[in-house]
Symmetry: C2
Subunit: 234 residues, 2 copies
DNA sequence: CTGAATTTGTGCGTATGTATC
DNA sequence: AGATACATACGCACAAATTCA
């Protein structure tokens, strides 16, 4: 881990552990330089990261203050977001693979994944059951050439861990779209819809560090279980 | 404008004008140093900003490449997001103030705005009409002590411009929450709901540079007109 | 395959500007 | 007015990833 990441983590830990509470002033940059035996540039890189991610707020001439303790979580891979994740989930999340096969890409998919026709794609459909109700249907498409060797076991645990740890690929960014759609036959088949006739769809176009797109995913959430939270700056 | 902002804008303009197209390699940091007569740190600050905002992707040892031309727009103030904004909106957006009054804060509101009871609050309800349909109901609450002098005229044009330009306040960040809710009586009264029984609610907790919260807003969107897009990194 | 050149990543030091108290 | 704290900018050195002769 680099030095600025160490400083970032150390300060973040103090916030999470409650040694630094909301509204507290964080030591000045010169003090942090001494504390961590680092240059000002390095300290600034660390605290800029803290600010970007919404933990602190720097004020010119005054100092730097703690905004919030808990991370505004987003999940680049896997489950995107739902209420229980934020509310400290009491019950369990059970993931079931309901369909899994390799297909040759056809028209809508070739565009969504930015690949040529007939390129091999791994299709995975998973249902997320929370506290006894099926509330999320995840439909993943992975480019087989980039992500080979997917199995049912991997799909049931963590595909992202497999991609990063086992395959050694570096995931970089995802373009996300959130919108509502009328329920499909498939939604009705797999989800406990509770009388609702729309779902919230989170689309993910996920890319590697080198820019290649390796995934397109639709997370279809039951309306009343959907929740999204973030911090926008400037 | 600072030097790194100049460099940021200059490169962004080249991307928007099409001189740098998607996939193109951007000149190396040393070349940009010469081009803009700047130090490496300044150039890096500019291109790091471009990367954060999703325009380019830097790859260690290779270079820096254009990802996309169009900004993934978010709107910190005012209208949060809806389909037509992204699709280049053909028709007009008409904003109508349907209610406006000053009230003394009561229980749910004191918590949402983080203020004391009986503190004065300006309540504004506005309907957004797009292509002949009322599809968004915005309910804004402003802390009167921080944002004084709001009028119907300001509410009909741009409240944020008034806050920043006229009052000279610096807006810094907003905590956003997106979720679905069943329609209220008010939704039914003001919106053309088209048979849907839920709305998508975007909640905004907006703060000044000094950390004070000055606004709480609910944007209530008709399901089929809602659209949200962003880029998540790492 | 090796090594050099290029390019981005990290870290240090210094100076000066600007806002707050 | 002076002290403090963050903001911008410059320069240098070395590390790590990639490319290519």
């Amino acid at each position: 881990m680099s030095k600025y990441e160490m400083i970032y983590s150390a300060i973040l830990k103090q916030i999470e552990d409650g040694q630094l509470k909301e509204g507290d002033k964080i030591p000045s940059e010169t003090e942090l330089m001494k504390e961590f035996d680092a240059s000002r540039g390095t300290v600034r890189k660390a605290v800029d990261l803290l600010q970007e991610r919404g933990f602190v707020q720097k004020i010119h001439g005054k100092g730097m203050f703690v905004l919030r303790k808990k991370n505004i979580e987003f999940h680049l891979g896997g489950i995107v977001s739902f209420k229980e994740v934020y509310e400290g989930l009491n019950g369990d999340i059970v993931t079931t693979v309901v369909e899994m096969k390799q297909v040759a890409a056809r028209r809508p998919l070739t565009k969504l994944l930015n690949i040529k026709g007939n390129a091999k794609v791994d299709l995975i459909k998973r249902v997320r059951n929370i506290e006894g109700e099926n509330v999320i249907l995840d439909i993943n498409y992975f480019v087989s050439e980039i992500v080979p060797g997917l199995t049912k076991e991997i799909a049931e645990s963590s595909i992202y861990e497999y991609i990063e740890k086992t395959l050694g690929l570096h995931i970089s960014y995802a373009h996300r779209v959130i919108e509502a759609q009328p329920c499909t036959e498939e939604d009705r088949k797999y989800l406990d819809l509770n009388g609702t006739d729309h779902v919230i769809v989170v689309k993910n176009f996920t890319h590697l560090y080198d820019g290649r797109q390796f995934e397109y995913t639709e997370s279809r959430h039951r309306l009343d279980k959907f929740y999204f939270s973030d911090v926008a700056r400037r």
